[in-house]
Symmetry: C2
Subunit: 496 residues, 2 copies
């Protein structure tokens, strides 16, 4: 670091929209990612890690205001001799880098190429509650095959992954739809060529979950009053025109055969629609063959998925159990993963269409869900703390801690100022330590150590009568040679 | 993504100085990091993950040319209403963010705070062979204690970590020195107040490993001819003045007591030097008590460590076995980790000095070392491939692959164009698949499947005589119901 000339003190703050993660927040996530990686590997997917930095050109995040290519992403211009280097950016997802990697290395990669990738992505957007500018994704994609078996496989893998992470059958659902069916509906409505009307209809469909049939019908036609009393303009379709959309959205039946019949009615004579239905049927058959019934993976026409680049099947995993929102109201946990088929991303680079399909799991949301269910985030046990009674005998305490570690016990020697012994116990408390070891001058002379059960001690302090307190001491005097055995015994007792 | 108006095709290239990592390169690193985390946790260190992005102000990388704060780092200016937002940057190490985090959260963190952090860091510097602009570090630091026990502990932990990763005792050495001893030597030379001369001497000392005693002596005095025949100016000391530096650099003796005697001679009457020697002696005593003798951790005055911010003990782990360099010459593998005590980093934020010490392991170099030793990077076995003989029966193949996966076997169905069967076997070969499963129409009718041992097949193809080939078939016909059992049997045979 170069010298600073009396610069004012820098502020010690996490940059706005980012956060720091401590202890179990980090290790729980690492564990979850390694469990997901194991399922992905099991399905034959190979790991890929590209760097966080890509050229803006490769990411393809070209935005209207060319003076500010960093709208929505973190981007900067490198300097070359003429101060006009490449525009670089932090990846905003793991799909855009995959398209670049596949286009670049396609001659060396197997076809099809099944790959998974895990890591942080960055969005330069206004953060919301629980949403940050850096967050983790775990993606799996299959590049180079148009087979619906690839889509079915990813849905099955997604279902397996969620179960592996400890979310029981019945608490989640993978829902599958196909963009071509939707396009077929639009074709049946005569809207396939009017981009504006089509986009309006798509946006309205996306609100079906919230507004229900009547709300969407109103928005597709004349408009409606929203909850605040404001009047929302409608798309301006006639009731007749709106009918296929409503038929499409409400086509899901208990019986999948009936669902397909309903969809066929909604798409009328549209060829693209029929293709979409055929693809959905193929996926359904493959999943049934694999034993994935509608309780895990379900054909559901109300799944739309926002992203513009999907060209065929789209899928989404949602957790169906209820949680309490920030205002204490019950609501479903909702979506934790989504994806679909995108056949044009590699084409940007090579000019040749390369079919691809893939899913992205939002790790942070899934972790939050598991915390809700009490599956992660149990309090982590701190290290055994060897206290320091005599600072000139650090070497003695060092020997103790080494013995404990060699016995496989997480342990540390107190390294703060040892003058005030109360501070050492406060420290052990803050670390959530299970056991403290004490050896003062007297103990040393007598060849003994004090071993204090901090968990029992805390329990006794909270609730015990004086008698109980006397009967169940939480501090034990043992010969120095029995230190490791006694600590191990106490730790085992705490586990019971 | 917004629409692009006939933009030229983007180039599919990894940004300059970065690279993509495939398959085992990713999983080997993940495994190594999880092994290191386990040792760090065992020593009582807690995980911390801060974001990749920090304010330039917090990172403290202020560089001379203020128009270009991104010299050496990746940095950019955010936009606010007046187009003058904060300068942000990607972290260039894990220590600067730790100082920020500790200053920010110090009231909530235990004192001392032992933390570890792992992740990529970014340097906007000219990349060299094997050096990239993004690379991984695994750091452990103890903040808030001046005790030499903290430094000793980190050296012990570093030694344990390296052994845990599979590098045997004798193949590595942790070397420890103290900056105060070096300052004492400079004081003995009367150079403590002349920054220019001091820096020149330090730079020269850093070359001791390469140039040896005579080379350093020449550079400290009149200068020397380098290998290319160019004359390198000396620092301009007299022979007498250079003597303490040489005494310091050559002070390491077989016996650590003798080393300390030599150091005492080199520092003369310097108080700071004596303090440094006392600290080194404390570290030596603590490590001996823990059973770490000079074959693992050694006091070695020739360790300097480049970074300007070290204020006391400095340490370095090097691998001592020989490898062949790119030109086929034998050389020692060299340094894989380093660190030391830095008491002023938190002070930048708070105004109060906070003592801290820590180490950083260069994961990528260590992985390269383990590859050299054959400890990682053994060829990873690909998935069992269920081939597709009849594309209308994908559901049948799907059932097979599900059965295999449910039995814990990594497996996939072939998803490329199934027309050419040879391509399917080529694909299996590229994936390094151990087994291929084949079920054509005839097999289906007879209720059997073909299971092909690809490892044995490759072996036979390479070396077997016709007779052997007949005797040891690599393809087996089994009843469909025995598929999983047969595949498992073959996989086990390949492991033997």
């Amino acid at each position: 670091m170069a010298k600073q000339k009396k610069a004012p003190r820098p502020k010690a703050i996490t940059p706005k929209g980012f956060r720091d993660y401590f202890g179990p927040e980090v290790s729980d996530r690492a564990k979850m990612m390694s469990q997901i990686a194991e399922v992905y590997e099991h399905y034959g997917f190979d790991a890929l890690e590209s760097s966080a930095v890509e050229t803006v050109e490769a990411l393809g995040k070209f935005l209207p205001d060319v003076d500010r290519p960093n709208e929505g992403v973190f981007a900067w211009q490198e300097f070359d001799e003429n101060d006009k280097g490449d525009w670089m950016a932090l990846r905003y997802d793991l799909t855009a880098p995959l398209a670049r990697v596949y286009a670049q290395h396609r001659n060396d990669l197997p076809t099809p190429y099944r790959r998974y990738a895990m890591g942080p992505v960055w969005r330069n957007e206004k953060p919301g509650p629980g949403r940050f500018k850096q967050f983790y994704q775990c993606d799996a994609d299959t590049v180079g095959t148009a087979s619906m078996a690839a889509d079915a496989e990813i849905c099955a893998m997604l279902s397996d992954t969620i179960e592996t992470l400890g979310i029981a059958r019945g608490d989640f659902l993978v829902r599958v739809n196909n963009r071509k069916v939707l396009n077929g509906v639009l074709e049946a409505m005569g809207l396939q060529d009017s981009e504006g009307a089509r986009d309006n209809v798509l946006r309205t469909i996306d609100k079906f979950d919230k507004l229900g049939e009547a709300g969407v019908r109103a928005l597709l036609t004349k408009g409606r009053l929203d909850a605040s009393g404001a009047y929302i303009d409608g798309v301006g379709l006639t009731e007749d025109q709106a009918e296929p959309v409503i038929a499409f959205l409400t086509s899901k039946a208990d019986d999948v055969v009936k669902t397909f019949d309903n969809l066929r009615a909604a798409i009328g004579a549209s060829k693209i629609g029929a293709e979409g239905i055929f693809e959905l049927e193929q996926i359904g058959d493959l999943l049934s063959a694999g034993g994935y019934d509608a309780s895990r993976i379900s054909i559901d026409p109300s799944v739309v998925r926002g992203l513009g680049y999907y060209t065929g099947p789209v899928y989404e995993a949602e957790l169906t159990f209820e949680i309490l929102d920030e205002k204490g109201r019950k609501r479903q946990f909702g979506s934790v993963a989504g994806g679909g088929r995108y056949d044009d991303l590699v084409k940007r680079f090579t000019g040749q269409a390369v079919p691809a399909t893939g899913v992205s799991i939002g790790i942070d949301r899934l972790l939050a869900a598991l915390r809700e269910k009490g599956r992660v985030g149990s309090v982590t046990r701190g290290p055994v703390v060897v206290t320091v009674m005599d600072r000139d005998r650090m070497a003695d305490y060092q020997v103790m801690v080494t013995e404990l570690r060699n016995a496989g016990i997480r342990a540390e020697v107190y390294l703060g100022n040892p003058k005030n012994f109360g501070n050492q116990l406060k420290y052990a408390d803050k670390r959530n330590s299970p056991v403290a070891v004490i050896e003062g001058g007297d103990e040393k002379e007598s060849g003994i150590v004090q071993v204090k059960d901090l968990v029992l001690g805390a329990k006794i302090a909270q609730s015990a009568t004086l008698e109980e307190w006397k009967e169940r001491p939480s501090q034990f005097e043992v010969p120095r040679g029995d230190l490791v055995a006694k600590v191990r015994e106490i730790l085992q007792g705490q586990n019971d």
